[in-house]
């Protein structure tokens, strides 16, 4: 269904960013503009998400063709349930992180184009979720990454500069590979539109046609690119280096949102396009292996970490492992699990990072073996309770939101659903990871709050009370996280809708390509002409 308004999801953050450029030296004004812009984006995303599911059947995907150039020719934006859930969660995390930044960032840093960069990054993130076109996805990634490079290096010290290179150079490498593979995909299929690619690949499989030579190679290239963005196993080492050096509010936003963009793209493109046919035989096991190693390795490392920030980054990686396992296992149940898990873990991760910032502010230390930590429950009982809730949400124990997504993913892996490709040992690895991460967070929690420190608490010389804005962000995130856990039913319905639409791409294809009366050209004849769609004559007016 056509809906012109979905472009607002990109336009609003862009506009906010552009407006805050000229007033960048006036902190209060840029904060006011930013708050209004971010709240408007959140409101717009909620309204649009409601639009996709309103009515008895739901309207499915909202589609907008830019400049009225119909689907495979022009740029298509698609807002469906899955991207909508992620966009709502992202807008919420951005708003909370932004709120937390008011009291946490140094004024020098804030005046140095912090506000515009953050808004532009939001625009890039939203465009990645919206776009229905492989090359436009590259552009969206670049908008997001350019802004994030700026934020990583903003007022950086020597340490952060050195770590920033890993982040920047690796992402540039991935971008170059992405452009190359997008060009190769165009060379093979003559289209870059995701819905069109789903249609062509799906038809080829239905008719038993061979997919073009090199399709497997392109799939593996794209797996490398998206795997690096999502931070899966062999490509995750930049994350624990670059993230912990960031200031708390940025850490909440980066750790919460950015890896989920990679997961979104994997879930959107791999099951219907790049994991089909022979490519599935190669990419499927790779994805499963990467997911399992990511979660186990990150879980074990989380136990070893004594720095809370580093440990929480490891928990983000565990979440990435779960989501990628869900993508690899696939099927209605698995992909519903991915939809729910990815969107709730944005909020859960941001909550944990904000809490970590609060704790660091309170104790003036960031190392759990530091004498300032230990026995904190007597001093700040509410912080102990909140931390327990946040940590348990991260691990995914029943009453809280992390549980449901994990449950579905493990169910699909253990073969509770005929549409997925079950893999028992993935399910058991996920269960084992759950146990390991529980051990990790309990270790952190006990050494921070429960066990008294042996040498007695020393005076906290560099402790700050922690800003009110950080507490406000903490409250918002905590409320959202608990709501997601205790009143999960409507969100689970949403996630089921999203998973169904992801697992069977027919609805997506129809929504995007509907305006065109295509007589499905089969891949075999299209390839001999090297171009499946002769340009539509009317489109040239």
């Amino acid at each position: 269904m056509t809906n012109r308004w979905i472009v607002l999801m990109v336009v609003l953050p862009m506009l906010t960013g552009a407006l805050s450029v000229p007033v960048v030296r006036r902190m209060r004004l840029s904060r006011a503009i930013g708050l209004v812009g971010m709240s408007a984006t959140l409101a717009a995303s909620l309204l649009l998400l409601w639009q996709t599911v309103a009515g008895s059947e739901g309207r499915g995907a909202l589609v907008s063709q830019m400049g009225q150039w119909d689907a495979p020719m022009g740029i298509t934006l698609v807002f469906d349930t899955f991207s909508g859930m992620l966009m709502v969660a992202a807008a919420f995390v951005f708003l909370c992180g932004y709120l937390a930044s008011f009291g946490e960032l140094k004024p020098t840093l804030e005046r140095r184009y912090f506000h515009p960069l953050l808004h532009f990054m939001h625009a890039g993130v939203n465009l990645s979720f919206l776009t229905g076109d492989l090359f436009n996805l590259f552009v969206a990634f670049e908008i997001m990454l350019m802004a994030s490079y700026g934020l990583v290096c903003l007022a950086a010290g020597r340490k952060r500069l050195v770590h920033a290179y890993k982040y920047v150079v690796l992402n540039l490498l991935a971008s170059a590979l992405f452009v190359t593979s997008a060009g190769l995909v165009y060379g093979m299929f003559g289209t870059l539109n995701l819905a069109d690619l789903m249609r062509i690949v799906g038809t080829a499989v239905d008719y038993g046609d061979a997919l073009p030579d090199g399709f497997v190679a392109v799939s593996v290239l794209l797996l490398t690119v998206f795997g690096l963005k999502a931070a899966v196993f062999p490509l995750f080492f930049w994350l624990p280096d670059a993230y912990p050096t960031l200031p708390t509010p940025l850490l909440a936003i980066f750790g919460g949102v950015l890896t989920k963009v990679g997961i979104y793209v994997l879930a959107r493109t791999f099951p219907p396009i790049f994991m089909v046919g022979e490519a599935g035989d190669v990419v499927g096991p790779m994805l499963l292996f990467a997911a399992v190693v990511t979660m186990l390795l990150a879980g074990v490392m989380a136990v070893a970490y004594r720095k809370l920030r580093g440990g929480l980054c490891m928990m983000v990686l565990v979440g990435v492992g779960f989501s990628v396992a869900g993508v690899a296992v696939g099927g209605n149940v698995g992909l519903s699990g991915v939809a729910f898990y990815a969107s709730q873990s944005m909020i859960a991760a941001a909550l944990a990072f904000v809490l970590c910032g609060k704790l660091e502010a309170h104790t003036g230390a960031d190392h759990l073996d530091d004498p300032h930590f230990g026995g904190l429950w007597r001093e700040v009982p509410w912080l102990a309770v909140f931390s327990f809730v946040a940590f348990v949400t991260l691990v995914g124990l029943p009453p809280l939101s992390g549980f449901y997504g994990k449950l579905w993913i493990i169910q699909a892996a253990l073969g509770g659903d005929e549409t997925s490709n079950p893999n028992t040992w993935v399910g058991f690895a996920a269960l084992l990871t759950g146990a390991i991460t529980l051990l990790a967070v309990l270790r952190w929690w006990t050494s921070a709050f429960w066990l008294g420190s042996e040498h007695g608490r020393t005076s906290r010389d560099n402790a700050r009370p922690g800003s009110r804005s950080l507490s406000a962000a903490l409250g918002l995130l905590l409320a959202a996280s608990i709501t997601l856990g205790l009143f999960a039913q409507p969100f689970l319905t949403l996630a089921q809708n999203a998973g169904d639409r992801l697992a069977s791409p027919a609805g997506y294809i129809e929504a995007v390509l509907n305006p065109i009366d295509f007589e499905t050209p089969r891949l075999a004849n299209t390839l001999s002409h090297a171009q499946p769609h002769p340009p539509k004559p009317e489109a040239h007016h």
Partner: protein, 157 residues
């Protein structure tokens, strides 16, 4: 033609991989830039031959004259891509070049800031920066350091 382009792409990718694996950040930056060029050439190579079938003559550009345009519009030409080159890969390359420029500017300025504040661009020396040192805001101090160094070295830092 495709073969020549393919060899160019391979050589460029190879050189950029060599540079990226070096221990010098300037070389790494050059490797990143070359990688972008290699990617652009790969897109060009993937977009099909610029020659007409079975002849030495080249295909026509997609936007050339009004008669060809009119023929395209009313559908006289059944398979336009057999007589003209595909415009889409060129548009992709154009976009990628523009993005590459921005990235190049950012990376070079990052190099400048690093060399000013850390005093080196070699990876082995950058690795010496201690993990536990406080991450102080260098932008606040860098101007003074810059001035001091300029005075010490007699005008050229």
């Amino acid at each position: 033609m495709i073969m020549v382009l393919a060899i160019c792409v391979a050589v460029t990718f190879g050189v950029s991989a060599y540079l990226l694996l070096g221990r010098e950040l300037k070389g790494v930056a050059m490797g990143v830039f070359l990688l972008g060029h290699a990617a652009n050439m790969a897109i060009l190579a993937a977009s099909g031959s610029p020659k007409l079938d079975g002849g030495p003559n080249m295909k026509r550009p997609p936007i050339s004259d009004t008669t060809f345009d009119a023929q395209l519009r009313d559908g006289t030409i059944a398979d336009p891509l057999s007589v003209m080159v595909d415009p889409v890969p060129q548009a992709l390359i154009l976009t990628a070049i523009v993005i590459g420029f921005a990235v190049m500017g950012f990376l070079l300025s990052l190099l400048v800031v690093t060399s000013r504040n850390v005093g080196t661009l070699t990876l082995d020396e950058l690795a010496q920066v201690h993990e536990d040192e406080p991450d102080e805001d260098i932008d606040a101090i860098s101007r003074d350091v810059w001035k001091k160094r300029r005075n010490e070295s007699g005008g050229t830092p």
